[in-house]
Symmetry: C6
Subunit: 70 residues, 6 copies
């Protein structure tokens, strides 16, 4: 994976989700659906905080898609 580029549209969208504490759905290649707010991202992972304030560190290579919680 190339160096993490904060200027990419995808990185910026995730950054906006962090700043605005948006609820998101993260669908994984395992078919797991992780629900919560994004607390941080780095080049390898995205961390989701669920409604019980528990963090899940999700590996980017396992993410299929992210969308606003419907």
């Amino acid at each position: 994976m190339a160096e993490f580029q904060t200027g990419l549209p995808s990185s910026r969208q995730v950054q906006i989700a962090i700043r605005e504490k948006k609820d998101v759905e993260v669908k994984l290649l395992t078919d797991d659906l992780i629900l919560g707010k994004v607390s941080w991202q780095d080049q390898d992972c995205i961390c989701i905080i669920d409604q019980y304030d528990q963090p899940t560190i999700v590996w980017r290579h396992a993410i299929a898609f992210i969308k606003p919680k419907s």
Copy 2:
């Protein structure tokens, strides 16, 4: 992943789909089928807007294929 190359046929086809607001089907490795219009692409992701105007940020590594909506 190498630097995003806008000159590649695949990048240009996606760019044309964006410009012409074509409806596409994006089949993922999870077997999910995402339907909608492509709104942007970067080196890691492609964003699809569905009929309710909701965005889904799809990771390229999770894409199996893209085709015009049939």
Copy 3:
């Protein structure tokens, strides 16, 4: 992924399939089987045209194998 190398046996075999308009089967990691003729390839994707002249842009990372249509 390294720069696309047109001199590789695998790239040349795909190039021959394009030039000779051969019917191929492309088996994906999703277990989808895409049938048709290869119209172009680049470092990320291979495009298959089906019998209704519809293109499917297949990501290389999703390809398990390609073989002549049996």
Copy 4:
């Protein structure tokens, strides 16, 4: 994969889990769930010690997510 960067948030969270001997759940792309304490990490793998003191060397590319044991 780029050189292992110990300064990344994700690497530091795993390092904290090692130091504090936290119980974690590691969900894999195979859907296996590995439970135990993290004993070490390097750029390719993370090692989990289960309750019987047996090590499992997990490849990072196979990890979907890590979370504190619930």
Copy 5:
């Protein structure tokens, strides 16, 4: 993927299988089992010729394992 290194034990084992026309089983991540003789390899693919002399170009990223036909 790094440049193809013909000196690696794994590359040499495949090269020996080519030279000695050994029958092999190639298990893919799709769970497909490809049976036949290896005809060539490059950095992206391995080509297997089945008993009807049909080639299957298998992508390395889709290979789980190769073993002598049992």
Copy 6:
């Protein structure tokens, strides 16, 4: 994949398994479980010898985890 680094903890653990002829379980992303002794490793593959002395060349990208045979 970066150059194979023999100094990594994960490479050294595999090296110890080779030297001490330990029985291991290798779980693959296909859910296959390969049992046997590790005979060699390189940057792309790990070779497992089963109880009938048959080699299986396993691709690293297909490995979920390795653990001592229980």
